[in-house]
C-alpha cells in the first residue's frame, strides 16, 4: 500500500484550476493519431494502387512481390524483394503492407515522445499537466503490457533498415520510363520524386533524433573527451533530439501524404508532373 502524503483531495477527471485551453493539445493529438491509424489501416488493406510508375508508396515498401494481379510490372527497377508472387501464396487478399507496417508502427508506438503524447490523449494519464485523472490505480511502465515499451531500441534497428529501403525508393523515383519499354533508365525529377525524397528526409530526422539512438551512440558513456567520434555522433543526435516532437509529427503526416500521392496518381485522379534530362 502506497504512503499517502498529500492532504488535499485529488481532483476528479478533467478537473483543474488551470485557466488556459489545456485540452486543445490532447484533443489534436487524439484526432491526428486516430485519423492516421484509420487511414493507414484502410490503406494497408487495399492491396492496390501503391505503385505508380517509378513511385512506390512507403506503406508498401519494400516491395515484397511483383505480379500481374497486383498491377505491377516485374520489369525495370521495381523488382519485388521476393520476385513474382509465388504460387503457394495462399492469402490472395493478404496485403504485404500488413507485414511491413508493424515495424514502423512499433517504432512510433514505443517512441518516448509518442508515449507521453498518447498516454495523455488516449488514456488521460493525465490528460494534461495538473489535470485530474479518471482512474485511481496506476501501474506505469513497470508491468505488462507497458513494460514492453523497453524494446524501443529493437524497433529502432528496423527503422534504420527501413530508412535505407525508403532511400532506395526515393533514388529509384529519379528514373523514369520515357519509351514505355518497361526500362526505367531516364533520369529526371517529378513531383512524386520530391514527395518521396522529403519523406526520407523527415523520417531520417525523426529516426536519428531518437532517444534510444542518442543513448546508444554515446549517451551511455560518462566520459566523452576520450572518444571524439562518438561524442560528435552524440552531439548530432542530441541536436535532432531537441526537436524530436516536430520531426515526429512532420514525418508522420508526410508518410501518409506520400501514400496518398502515390495512390491518387496510380488511380489516375492526380497527374504526376515530371521532366527528364536523358
Amino acid at each position: 500500500m502506497s504512503e499517502d502524503l498529500s492532504s488535499l483531495k485529488r481532483r476528479p477527471w478533467g478537473m483543474t484550476l488551470r485557466q488556459d485551453t489545456w485540452w486543445i493539445v490532447p484533443l489534436v493529438v487524439f484526432l491526428v493519431l486516430t485519423s492516421f491509424v484509420v487511414y493507414a489501416t484502410w490503406a494497408a488493406f487495399q492491396n492496390e494502387h501503391y505503385v505508380h510508375r517509378n513511385y512506390l508508396s512507403p506503406f508498401y515498401s519494400p516491395l515484397l512481390f511483383t505480379g500481374g494481379d497486383m498491377g505491377i510490372s516485374g520489369d525495370g527497377h521495381q523488382h519485388g524483394l521476393f520476385g513474382d508472387k509465388p504460387g503457394w501464396w495462399l492469402l490472395p487478399f493478404f496485403s504485404p503492407a500488413l507485414l511491413i507496417l508493424p515495424f514502423p508502427a512499433g517504432f512510433r508506438m514505443t517512441c518516448y515522445y509518442y508515449r507521453g503524447a498518447y498516454y495523455k490523449a488516449f488514456w488521460a494519464d493525465p490528460s494534461a499537466c495538473a489535470v485530474g485523472e479518471p482512474r485511481n490505480n496506476y501501474l506505469g511502465e513497470n508491468s505488462l503490457p507497458l513494460i514492453l515499451q523497453n524494446i524501443h531500441r529493437y524497433f529502432l534497428y528496423f527503422a534504420i533498415l527501413f530508412l535505407f529501403i525508403l532511400a532506395y525508393d526515393a533514388f529509384s523515383a529519379f528514373f523514369f520510363d520515357n519509351d514505355g519499354d518497361g526500362k526505367f533508365t531516364n533520369f529526371g525529377v517529378g513531383v512524386g520524386t520530391l514527395v518521396l525524397c522529403m519523406n526520407v528526409f523527415l523520417l531520417t530526422g525523426y529516426t536519428f533524433g531518437c532517444h534510444s539512438l542518442r543513448h546508444l551512440v554515446g549517451g551511455w558513456m560518462d566520459i566523452f573527451s576520450s572518444t571524439p567520434a562518438k561524442t560528435k555522433c552524440y552531439d548530432c543526435v542530441s541536436c535532432l533530439n531537441r526537436q524530436h516532437m516536430v520531426w515526429a509529427w512532420c514525418s508522420l503526416l508526410w508518410v501518409a501524404f506520400s501514400d496518398v500521392y502515390v495512390r491518387l496518381c496510380s488511380m489516375g485522379i492526380w497527374t504526376d508532373v515530371y521532366f527528364t534530362f536523358t
Partner: protein, 248 residues
C-alpha cells in the same frame, strides 16, 4: 493600478477552503508581492514560505491558477486579472498551514540515494583530471533549486500517491547527476528500477514544463536513465556487448 481578486487556499492538514481577497496591484508585481500585501492588509495569519524573491531558493512553490509555479517568478501582468487568481499549496505534499506544505519526504528520499563514489585519484596529490566536456552534461542538473514543483506536478505522486515506490523527477535528476558524473563509480541502476520506480514515469514531460530553472528533466535525465536501466535489465544484446566494452 487595479483591484484584483485572489482566491487563496486557507486551512491545515484536516480541512481548508478557498477564501477571496481583494487587493490593489501595480505594474511589475509578482504573485508573492500580492500575497504579502494581502498578509499586511487583511490576512495577518496567512502562512506562506518565501525567502529570496529571486527564483533561486525554491521556497515559494505553490499552484497558481492550477499550475505549479514559484510565486516570486509569476508576474501578475502575464495573467488574466479579470478572473480571480487562485493560489493553493502544492498538492503532492501534506499541507502544514495555508500555502505551506511539508516537503520533508523529499529529504528522506534523498538520503536513500547512493552517494557520490569517485574513482581513485588520478594524481599523487589526490586530485583528478577532468575535461569540461565530460561534466557539461551533469552541470545542467546542478541548476536544480529543489523547489519541488516537478515533484508536485508529477501525476505519479500528485494523483497516485506512490510516494513509497517512486522518488519523483527531482531525484531522477539527482541520480542522473551522480550516475553520469565522469568520476563516479557507483551503480544505482538496480535501485532506480526496483525501489525508486523509474518505470512509473510515463514521460508526460510535465516536470520539464514547470521547472523554473529550465532543466530538460525528461529528455536529459529521466529518459537517459531509463535507457541505462534498459541496458542493464531488458536488453540482452547490449548487456552482452557491454561485457566486452565497459561503461566507464
Amino acid at each position: 493600478m487595479a483591484r484584483v481578486t485572489f482566491k487563496i487556499w486557507r486551512g491545515d492538514k484536516q480541512a481548508g477552503e478557498f477564501k477571496e481577497y481583494n487587493t490593489e496591484v501595480s505594474e511589475g508585481m509578482v504573485v508573492l508581492d500580492a500575497v504579502h500585501q494581502i498578509q499586511a492588509e487583511s490576512a495577518n495569519d496567512l502562512a506562506c514560505r518565501w525567502n529570496c524573491k529571486a527564483g533561486k531558493c525554491g521556497s515559494c512553490s505553490a499552484e497558481i491558477n492550477g499550475m505549479p509555479r514559484l510565486m516570486c517568478m509569476t508576474r501578475l501582468n502575464d495573467m488574466n486579472l479579470d478572473e480571480p487568481v487562485s493560489i493553493e499549496p502544492m498538492r503532492a505534499f501534506p499541507v502544514m498551514k495555508d500555502l505551506v506544505t511539508d516537503v520533508s519526504w523529499n529529504y528522506r528520499v534523498k538520503k536513500k540515494i547512493k552517494p557520490f563514489k569517485p574513482r581513485l585519484p588520478d594524481n599523487d596529490d589526490g586530485s583528478w583530471n577532468m575535461q569540461q566536456q565530460d561534466v557539461e552534461r551533469v552541470q545542467e542538473f546542478r541548476k536544480c533549486i529543489e523547489c519541488f514543483l516537478c515533484q508536485d506536478v508529477c501525476h505519479v505522486l500528485r494523483d497516485h500517491h506512490k510516494h513509497d515506490e517512486f522518488i519523483g523527477p527531482r531525484y531522477f535528476v539527482y541520480n542522473a547527476a551522480l550516475e553520469m558524473h565522469p568520476l563516479d563509480e557507483e551503480d544505482r541502476l538496480a535501485d532506480l528500477k526496483k525501489s525508486q520506480g523509474i518505470g512509473y514515469c510515463n514521460i508526460t514531460k510535465c516536470c520539464t514544463k514547470v521547472c523554473p530553472e529550465n532543466i530538460t528533466i525528461t529528455d536529459n535525465a529521466i529518459i537517459p536513465l531509463k535507457e541505462r536501466v534498459v541496458d542493464e535489465f531488458y536488453d540482452p544484446l547490449t548487456k552482452l556487448f557491454r561485457i566486452f566494452k565497459p561503461r566507464k
